[in-house]
């Protein structure tokens, strides 16, 4: 199966970000179009180079090495994809370009994963892929792939090479899945993040496709408030089959990351400028 236009649109989604250094207002901001499916730590080298050039902060200095990012006064949980972080911002996604603060002091060691030479973003990405494949195929497919193919997935993502990524990812995405990898996120008012994950099969007991409604009932058995599930800035109708949503809208880490929002789904979409317009003729 070849990747279709929805998967390509998901891959191509980008957010304009403006990185500022509040510690030194004379430093010019760094503007970047960041892939929604990418990760902020992949930009660390660029940010350090920027600070070195404009803020006199040497790339090897503790400040540059202990660099972290903040938005709306809270550390950015940068192990999560960029687009998910944007969609989680409360009370609503910030205006674009998204202003993100660079911090060089007081790295929040009890809140943020530290990425560096001893804990690479690449190995974390692989950790996510392995877990997703464990859910789908008891890790058989990812374990059968050699290191070369693992590297190709990462390099494809890092270098924005959809074809390079897809030719390997196809193997992970095809075939019958035992359970579908997903997570449901809810940003709390106090800044905390609740993450729900449970075992969900693609079909109900009667073999009809499991829907997002069914999923909510499994994950939040006693929940009664009207809510919406959204991904890539787009609200999904609750009758959407989970398997379809997974196939079209999973992130490169092979998880479907869903944001739980209060209120009913507006089937016309969010109308946010960052939202991806789904090409309805691609729906199967």
């Amino acid at each position: 199966t070849t990747p279709d236009s929805i998967q390509r649109q998901v891959w191509d989604g980008k957010l304009p970000v403006c990185f500022v250094l509040p510690e030194d207002p004379d430093v010019p901001p760094l503007y970047s179009l960041v892939p929604r499916v990418g990760y902020f730590p992949a930009l660390l080298d660029r940010l350090r180079a920027h600070l070195s050039r404009h803020a006199g902060i040497d790339e090897d200095s503790p400040g540059a090495q202990q660099l972290w990012l903040r938005s709306a006064g809270r550390p950015l949980r940068w192990h999560l994809p960029v687009g998910l972080l944007y969609d989680l911002e409360r009370p609503k996604p910030p205006p674009l370009p998204w202003e993100v603060e660079i911090r060089t002091r007081d790295f929040p060691t009890d809140e943020l994963v530290s990425f560096g030479p001893n804990n690479s973003l690449e190995s974390y990405f692989l950790y996510c892929l392995k877990e997703a494949d464990a859910l789908k195929h008891r890790a058989r497919v990812i374990n059968e792939m050699g290191e070369r193919e693992h590297r190709q997935l990462w390099q494809g993502l890092l270098n924005d090479q959809f074809d390079q990524f897809s030719v390997v990812n196809r193997k992970l995405m095809e075939g019958e899945a035992k359970y579908l990898p997903f997570r449901i996120y809810q940003q709390e008012a106090d800044g905390g993040l609740s993450v729900l994950q449970c075992l969900a099969k693609p079909h109900r007991e009667d073999s009809t496709p499991l829907t997002l409604s069914d999923l909510l009932r499994i994950c939040l058995p006693n929940f009664t408030d009207p809510v919406t599930l959204a991904t890539h800035g787009v609200s999904l109708p609750m009758e959407t089959p989970l398997a379809w949503a997974y196939d079209k809208l999973a992130y490169p880490d092979n998880f479907l990351h869903l944001v739980l929002q209060p209120g009913r789904c507006n089937s016309a979409g969010d109308g946010e400028s960052s939202a991806m317009q789904l090409d309805s003729s691609s729906e199967s």
Partner: protein, 199 residues
């Protein structure tokens, strides 16, 4: 997978027995904690904290370097097997630098297995990740090969008497987790005494 699989509920049921077997023989505080929920099943862990000798900072040090290990023994539904999450810090609470944490695990693994330094690709199995329920950064050993080990352990213990493919015997589950911990705990300097597996 060769043996019957552990489920989260079987793991939860085995935890009190695991706690009983360990707390009598290890002098550290241990407790059961519920850290979240997966559908309507509680996500439970056995949590403990202990001091162990760390890798020597330099060969001429006469005083042993101590490392505070905060260990959470939990369960991964994705892999259907137990999983370790841990924090490493100096005795005063300052987290170990990433390179020191990697050295700590490497030295522990080498001294348990006798494997030479160059052969172990630690980066492919040790990562700092957000704890799945608590969210805080913790180290973990990738469970990818653990499921295989647990399968062998449960198979050997004849834990699937009703042929369901799932471990339903709490005693068997506790012993399988204990055997797994005896192996994997070594990576963080945890020595499980043999007496823990006796009735």
């Amino acid at each position: 997978l060769s043996g019957p699989m552990l489920s989260r509920s079987a793991f939860n049921e085995a935890l009190p027995q695991l706690l009983a077997r360990l707390s009598g023989r290890l002098s550290w505080p241990m407790r059961l904690a519920t850290v979240g929920a997966e559908s309507d099943t509680p996500v439970m862990e056995l949590q403990t904290s202990f001091l162990v000798a760390g890798p020597a900072a330099d060969a001429s040090d006469s005083a042993p370097v101590l490392v505070q290990v905060r260990l959470h023994i939990g369960f991964s539904s994705a892999y259907a097997c137990p999983v370790l999450h841990f924090c490493l810090s100096q005795p005063d609470g300052v987290p170990l630098a990433a390179s020191d944490a990697a050295d700590f695990v490497r030295v522990n693994v080498e001294s348990s297995t006798g494997e030479a330094a160059g052969q172990l690709d630690l980066a492919s199995v040790l990562s700092q990740v957000p704890h799945p329920q608590l969210g805080c950064p913790m180290y973990t050993l990738h469970p990818c090969r653990t499921a295989e080990l647990i399968g062998r352990l449960t198979s050997a213990s004849e834990a699937d008497r009703d042929g369901s493919g799932e471990v339903r015997d709490t005693n068997a589950a506790a012993l399988a987790v204990l055997s797994w911990l005896t192996v994997y705990g070594r990576a963080v300097g945890l020595q499980v005494p043999q007496s823990a597996s006796c009735s």
